[in-house]
């Protein structure tokens, strides 16, 4: 089975800070890591490869420093890695990004399946995976926690807040994964030493079958109006009363007025 995993480099913090002057993420002083959900996608792909054989290719679209997470994926056990990078890709929104990644998948493929995390922890859109499936005209399953080979198909367990759904999906397909039961494996020392010596392929604009009008800022219909850190208010109200009963009544009244109960 030929598998492709899309991974993204994100700041290592769930407490994203935003520069109020420019409305952009403050990245200085923040360590960059592989998006945690993408690490689970790499793990799922490696497990599939162990079950049925094949190869695991990882790609990332981003600036040259995103190579470090590709090397991390190689150290975990991926077979090869490609960085999709070009100044002309800069400013791409999810539509343009998924268009470019789909083109990369066509160029490197054919693949039986593309795996990705359900969303990145920086932008949190969760759109790139499903949009890739649309660009490619493939089936898609989102929010997958487990993947099992099932002949020519894959059996995917899809997570809902209150239930699980087991889906049999024809290939090729795009699968977006949530954090599964088995956490992403540790790299091995051997894997790391090999990965540090392995070349990462570079795919730029000219290496991909893309139209200039559909990439970068020009290809991005999404315009961010404003990004801001919501202000947090915490107020403490003391409930007065002589007895516990009085205090309870006062509390119920306050909660009722606040439409909480």
């Amino acid at each position: 089975m030929k598998l492709l995993v899309c991974i993204k480099q994100v700041p290592d913090t769930t407490e994203i800070k935003i520069d109020p002057a420019t409305n952009t993420l403050i990245r200085t002083g923040v360590l960059s890591i592989m998006n945690p959900f993408d690490a689970y996608a790499v793990e799922q792909a490696l497990q599939l490869r162990e079950a049925v054989g094949g190869t695991v290719t990882v790609i990332s679209m981003g600036p040259p420093q995103a190579q470090t997470i590709l090397t991390d994926a190689l150290a975990m056990g991926a077979d090869e890695a490609y960085l999709v990078t070009d100044r002309r890709f800069g400013g791409s929104d999810t539509l343009a990004t998924s268009y470019i990644l789909a083109a990369a998948a066509k160029t490197l493929g054919p693949f039986d399946a593309i795996l990705c995390g359900k969303q990145a922890i920086d932008g949190d859109t969760g759109q790139v995976g499903p949009e890739m499936a649309e660009h490619l005209g493939w089936a898609q399953v989102t929010y997958v926690s487990q993947l099992h080979p099932e002949g020519e198909k894959l059996e995917a367990v899809r997570e809902h807040p209150d239930r699980q759904e087991v889906i049999s999906v024809s290939l090729p397909a795009v699968i977006s994964v949530v954090k599964g039961e088995e956490r992403p494996r540790y790299e091995t020392i051997r894997g790391r030493l090999r990965a540090n010596r392995q070349e990462i392929g570079i795919l730029d604009r000219d290496a991909l079958p893309v139209e200039d009008g559909r990439i970068g800022l020009t290809g991005s219909p999404t315009k961010v109006k404003r990004i801001f850190t919501p202000e947090r208010h915490a107020e403490c109200v003391w409930i007065e009363g002589e007895t516990a009963g009085e205090k309870a009544r006062a509390l119920c009244g306050a909660l009722s007025r606040a439409h909480v109960i």
């Binding site: 150290a75 540790y186 091995t188 020392i189 051997r190 790391r192 540090n196």
Partner: protein, 378 residues
């Protein structure tokens, strides 16, 4: 480690050790410290990552990396939990005499066993032969194409879990150290048994026990090196392993520093963090200065080993300095934490208990001074 120039590979391997140490080893510390057992699943996970393969020779399937890298990883793992690190170190210690004197078949056996997650143990010490290793009483008598071993080894790290031992025994009496021979003894040989699990003060995530040998037959191919060369093999083994042990001690000291700095910044006393008090600042500074000095000796010793230069006295100096430093720095950490430092609910007193063994095992620090002064006065 800080203050040393590391290669990209070394930085990445250290980061891996830190991640594993923080996410897997440290969380197990409390539970297994109380139990006094080695968490074998964590040990095996560490083996899978490659932490037991670092200096095993590449031609037998090991990683074939240098002693500097070994010390770097040992220090980092020890910073998170020194007991599991010591269990890994004890297997590494048992592999060394085999790599020094073994046949290709013996080397392949040891590498395969250790890399597949089996533990190994080095059996030199006896109830009446500690620092005076030459006084050992275990005997090996030639019989039917092999040897029959009888005797008792004590304080043997990893003994309760080990799949094989390296045992030092006398093949000839009355010739002192020249009568000692080394043997590879599989744990499942008839007559091999393990005594009571020692209830140690510290390093409780690595287990020690007696190894009892009662008419244990080993074939000739289990002898390591020539008859009578056992003592030289043991001394060469300990000379080299001391750098690793010293690195583990530095890791404990670093852990004490890390936690003391954090605590001093947050503990409020007289209306301000105790880190603002010069009494605390100077304690922290001394802890840092002494630890960095010990670390410098460790990596200098490792550098000598890696460059094939004479390293015995430097390794002894490093082990002595690092062990004494770890003891002092962890006592200071308990002092900074004060009452909380003395309580088992806090992780500080464990560091102090762990550190103490580094002044005792793999040659007491008095023996290290014998080695150092011996080299000065010869």
């Amino acid at each position: 480690m800080s203050g040393f120039v590391l290669t990209k590979d070394q930085q990445d391997m250290r980061r891996l050790a830190a991640k594993f140490g923080e996410e897997v080893m440290r969380p197990a510390a409390k539970e297994y410290d109380l139990l006094g057992e080695t968490p074998l699943d964590i040990y095996r996970q560490a083996v899978e990552i490659g932490f037991a393969s670092v200096t095993l020779p590449a031609e037998y399937g090991g990683l074939g990396l240098d002693m500097t890298t070994q010390c770097l990883l040992t220090e980092e793992l020890s910073r998170w939990e020194a007991g599991i690190t010591n269990a890994l170190g004890a297997s590494s210690l048992a592999s060394k005499p085999i790599m020094i004197a073994g046949t290709p078949a013996q080397k392949q056996y040891a590498v395969d066993m250790i890399q597949s997650g089996h533990l190994a143990a080095f059996g030199l010490t006896e109830p009446d032969a500690g620092s005076d290793a030459a006084a050992l009483k275990t005997t090996a008598v030639r019989r039917d194409g092999g040897y029959v071993l009888n005797g008792r080894k004590c304080f043997i790290t990893n003994a309760p879990y080990a799949s094989f031992f390296v045992i030092f025994a006398k093949t000839q009496k009355n010739v002192g150290t020249h009568g000692i021979t080394a043997f590879l003894v599989e744990a499942d040989r008839p007559g091999v048994s393990v005594g009571r699990h020692e209830d140690k003060m510290g390093l409780r995530l690595s287990a020690a026990a007696d190894v009892i040998l009662e008419n244990v037959f080993v074939p000739e191919e289990n002898r390591l090196g020539d008859e009578g060369k056992g003592f030289v093999i043991a001394m060469k083994t300990l000379d080299a392993s001391r750098a690793e042990v010293a690195a583990a001690a530095v890791g404990i000291a670093q852990s004490a520093i890390d936690q003391s700095v954090e605590y001093a910044k947050n503990r409020i006393c007289f209306g301000k963090p105790i880190a603002r008090l010069q009494a605390i600042q100077f304690m922290l500074a001394d802890m840092e200065i002494q630890t960095q000095a010990a670390r410098s000796l460790v990596y200098h010793a490792a550098e000598l080993i890696d460059n094939g230069l004479p390293y015995g006295p430097m390794c002894a100096a490093a082990k002595c300095m690092a062990g004494d430093t770890a003891m002092k720095v962890t006592m200071d950490a308990v002092q900074i934490f004060s009452g909380y430092g003395y309580m088992r609910d806090y992780p500080i007193e464990k560091l102090m208990r762990d550190a103490k063994l580094f002044q005792i095992f793999e040659g007491t620090n008095q023996i290290q001074r014998v080695v150092v002064s011996g080299a000065m006065l010869k």
